[in-house]
């Protein structure tokens, strides 16, 4: 069962009624736990066994660390998690796990388990009961693809008495609707094309070695947008589903493509994972290596881990390395970059240049991320920089139009949203705004239904 299935549309109201109608935290926790295991179990009968094992393992290690907060207990707990993750994620490549495939969500809930151990070691104690901890690990809105939560931020909410409010239900439903539209209408259309065989999948997986420069750039930008709408759509649904129950989950995206430096991009893209890596890897490393060179090493290591988290392929490692280089390069160049430009016009131009260069560099990186292998990545990368065959087009015209439309609309909405909101509040009566908003939701619902017969799974399910 995944979020865009009709089964989930039927599951959610039932779950809401079972969870939200109870004032008793214990009853609510048990309801969430049972529903979460049912939800996760729909992917395969042994998946809940693995989740249960991971939960029990981390709970026990958490208790041991709490009673004996030593480096070796923490290390042992972390190693057991890394071993479990490594066996399924990298075992195939290392020849350990044979043909066993990666259980969905493992990377996400393993990181949740590890954060619990690290927080317990740092005496950020949430002191969960076994049921609370199992609920935190299995919580169905986040178990498949995050956002990666922390035990201390979830426990308070699981223990809270009182029911979800009407506002929770309204906000949650709205986010679910927006998320479904982002995923099913925008991301899937970019992936599969306006007509079958015109999308990102076609461009990356079907063409072989004949990409022109424009093809490579359009595919990189198109995939960047597909991934953004896919993952942001998922995050909206996950956060919205949790919110309907009155539980707030941390945000995962904040207009990442508006970033004007690589560091800012990483504070806005897959926030829950980048904050995890920042808190538990980058900060300790940066503190252990306080020199400037040491900080650069910390950045490179953090970004390499970020890449490796996605898989063992060279493409992911190169992608992580590339982003590490971008961040280090930006920091190295910082002293030579103009800090405060006095003229407003020049400042505007400088901001645009910063944003554009960041956006293009980030987009170019998606070639490394999405390519099937390093050979394809190098071929596409070469094509993207080769002026001799830059302008010949190999894809269907609809693809180029679609990418321009989606990218254009994204930036118009992202930049103009706040200004438009202010204007609307000032000039348009509330009743008209409400009517327009409702009509928009109805149109979104209609679009979701129309696009629902050919939806694809979420891209991040593989990680």
């Amino acid at each position: 069962m995944t979020f865009q299935n009709l089964t989930y549309w039927a599951f959610l109201p039932v779950a809401w009624m079972l969870v939200s109608t109870s004032d008793d935290p214990r009853r609510r926790q048990i309801a969430i736990l049972v529903l979460s295991y049912l939800f996760y179990g729909s992917w395969g009968p042994w998946f809940p066994v693995l989740l249960g094992t991971s939960s029990a393992l981390n709970y026990v290690w958490g208790e041991i660390i709490r009673n004996r907060p030593r480096v070796w207990t923490l290390t042992a707990g972390l190693v057991s998690n890394i071993a479990l993750l490594g066996f399924f994620k990298y075992g195939n490549v290392l020849g350990i796990s044979g043909s066993i495939f990666l259980p969905i969500g493992l990377s996400f809930y393993t990181f949740q388990g590890m954060s619990h151990l690290l927080d317990t070691y740092r005496e950020r104690r949430s002191r969960p009961t076994l049921i609370e901890f199992a609920t935190y690990m299995a919580f169905w809105p986040t178990v498949l693809m995050g956002p990666i939560t922390r035990s201390w931020e979830m426990m308070d909410q699981f223990r809270r008495t009182g029911r979800a409010t009407w506002e929770d239900l309204a906000v949650g439903s709205r986010r679910i609707l927006i998320g479904l539209a982002m995923k099913m209408v925008v991301a899937d259309t970019l992936a599969n094309g306006i007509q079958a065989g015109e999308g990102v999948i076609f461009g990356f997986d079907r063409l072989s070695g004949d990409w022109s420069g424009l093809d490579a750039w359009f595919l990189a930008i198109g995939f960047g947008m597909q991934l953004y709408f896919d993952f942001t759509g998922y995050s909206h649904i996950a956060i919205g589903s949790a919110r309907t129950l009155g539980i707030r989950v941390r945000e995962n995206f904040a207009n990442p493509y508006l970033a004007d430096s690589p560091a800012i991009f990483w504070s806005r893209w897959h926030i829950s994972l980048s904050q995890w890596i920042r808190d538990y890897l980058f900060f300790p490393l940066a503190m252990a290596l306080p020199s400037r060179a040491g900080r650069y090493v910390a950045v490179m290591v953090a970004m390499l881990v970020f890449g490796a988290w996605h898989g063992v392929g060279w493409t992911f490692l190169c992608w992580g390395f590339y982003h590490g280089l971008l961040q280090v390069g930006h920091r190295v160049l910082q002293p030579w970059l103009p800090g405060q430009v006095s003229s407003p016009r020049l400042r505007w131009a400088w901001n645009v240049l910063s944003w554009l260069s960041t956006y293009l560099l980030i987009s170019w990186g998606w070639i490394l991320f999405r390519s099937a292998n390093l050979n394809q990545a190098l071929t596409m990368a070469h094509a993207s920089l080769d002026p001799s065959r830059f302008f010949s087009l190999s894809l269907r015209p609809n693809y180029y139009i679609l990418v321009v439309l989606v990218t254009g609309l994204y930036f118009i909405i992202a930049w103009g949203k706040d200004a438009a909101r202010g204007l609307v509040r000032r000039w348009i009566p509330e009743l008209v705004v409400a009517a327009c908003r409702t009509t928009c939701y109805a149109v979104l619902l209609l679009a979701i239904i129309i696009w629902s017969f050919q939806s694809s799974v979420f891209v991040y399910f593989q990680f």
């Binding site: 099937a372 139009i401 129309i450």
Partner: protein, 411 residues
């Protein structure tokens, strides 16, 4: 108390339920509108409303043509319609795109090429030739491969001869329709392709495309991946999902009309695009080199499979409208003419060039009332009933003696 509670109840209640109520009412309206939608043949509507997709009961099958990504049942239909292979009958499978089965301005006595072929070959009253139509609208070369493998799969129903008409537009695409792939015996297809890859140089572009289509990894899951996941894998959730979809389609017209609405949206988009960019049917559209390479490799794989299976292959370059300007780059036409002839010679197939066969008078223009924005423009894809007859007569002239010779050999 009552006086103060009622307005508050009304305002808070309305505020709570307003959005839900309004959305519900709007969806109800959408449902009512969806229930009044007439089923449109998106493909025909997108090309020409005077276009008649024909088939003649005894020689072919009624092709389902609903929707852009509609229910194509080509493979199963081919297998179902191929007769039991008898020693006294030559089984001929005729494959092409919509040009082979669509007639412009159809008149009551008009017939498509396959029907003419069947009639002309059986002029002497003998039922010695069984012609079957395996065409697909907008057929890609990967679909040609799939159909060819399907035609060879069952020994008791296999075709003896395969006639293939290739239009240049068939080289602009490569993706096979997901619904078609779903019906293929994938292990058999992969086995056949693996075997024929050894019959000559490794055809890497086609192999890569096939691999991506037939083995969508977790990372590369697409519509085909989903449709596969939606197959009956025995899980309760899969069954539940299917049941919910069936029930939703039964109960709500809006769910039932999903494909129809999606097709209409695509049609509307195409119309707006053509208007915005000033696109016409005559605009020159060169074939992208990557598309050309991979499609040519698919044709070569098809030829290898035909040779290995002992099926006689007859490939013809389909008629091109002799009107300037036209959408085909002369260099593309020349290159394909040369490459197809070479491939046919290499693999022992018959090559025929019918690119100049149909005179301008037997092609027509789109009517001014056309809704897809091409009214008054020439149709480069389809021709009239007389042209179908002309093409069939020419085919019989060129290959009739050969077919009779093969029949004699078979007997």
């Amino acid at each position: 108390m009552f006086q103060s509670t009622l307005p508050r109840l009304l305002t808070t209640g309305l505020r709570r339920w307003y959005a839900l109520l309004a959305i519900g009412i709007l969806m109800l309206v959408a449902n009512v509108l969806a229930s009044t939608l007439e089923s449109t043949d998106i493909l025909t509507a997108g090309q020409d409303r005077r276009l008649t997709f024909q088939t003649v009961g005894e020689i072919g099958r009624l092709l389902p043509l609903a929707g852009v990504q509609g229910d194509f049942e080509g493979v199963r239909e081919i297998l179902g319609n191929l007769p039991i292979n008898r020693t006294d009958v030559l089984s001929v499978l005729y494959i092409g795109n919509s040009q082979t089965m669509a007639i412009m301005d159809a008149r009551p006595r008009d017939r498509i090429v396959a029907a003419w072929l069947s009639a002309l070959l059986s002029r002497d009253g003998q039922e010695a030739f069984a012609v079957r139509l395996g065409s697909e609208a907008n057929m890609t070369m990967s679909e040609l491969l799939v159909k060819t493998v399907a035609a060879a799969e069952d020994n008791t129903h296999r075709a003896d001869v395969e006639i293939v008409g290739i239009v240049l537009d068939g080289l602009r695409w490569v993706e096979p329709r997901g619904d078609l792939i779903k019906q293929v015996n994938i292990p058999f297809l992969l086995d056949q392709v693996r075997q024929v890859q050894e019959d000559g140089p490794y055809l890497s572009a086609a192999a890569r495309v096939l691999d991506a289509i037939l083995h969508p990894s977790e990372q590369r899951v697409d519509a085909i991946g989903l449709s596969r996941a939606g197959e009956d894998d025995g899980r309760i959730v899969t069954w539940l999902e299917r049941q919910l979809n069936i029930q939703a389609e039964r109960a709500l017209p809006i769910f039932r009309a999903r494909r129809e609405l999606r097709g209409r949206i695509n049609l509307q988009y195409t119309s707006i695009r053509n208007w915005a960019f000033g696109l016409t049917t005559s605009m020159r559209r060169p074939i992208a080199p990557a598309m050309y390479t991979v499609n040519l490799e698919f044709i070569e794989l098809t030829l290898r499979i035909l040779r290995r299976q002992g099926i006689k292959g007859i490939f013809y370059l389909a008629p091109i409208r002799p009107l300037e300007p036209n959408p085909y780059d002369p260099r593309d036409v020349e290159r394909f003419r040369r490459d197809l002839a070479n491939l046919c010679q290499q693999y022992g197939a018959i090559y025929l060039d019918y690119s100049r066969l149909i005179p301008e008078t037997l092609w027509t223009v789109y009517p001014d009332t056309d809704k897809s924005g091409v009214g008054g423009q020439p149709d480069f894809a389809h021709f009239t009933g007389n042209a179908h007859q002309l093409l069939a007569e020419r085919l019989v002239d060129d290959i009739g003696p050969m077919l009779r010779n093969w029949l004699t050999q078979k007997r």
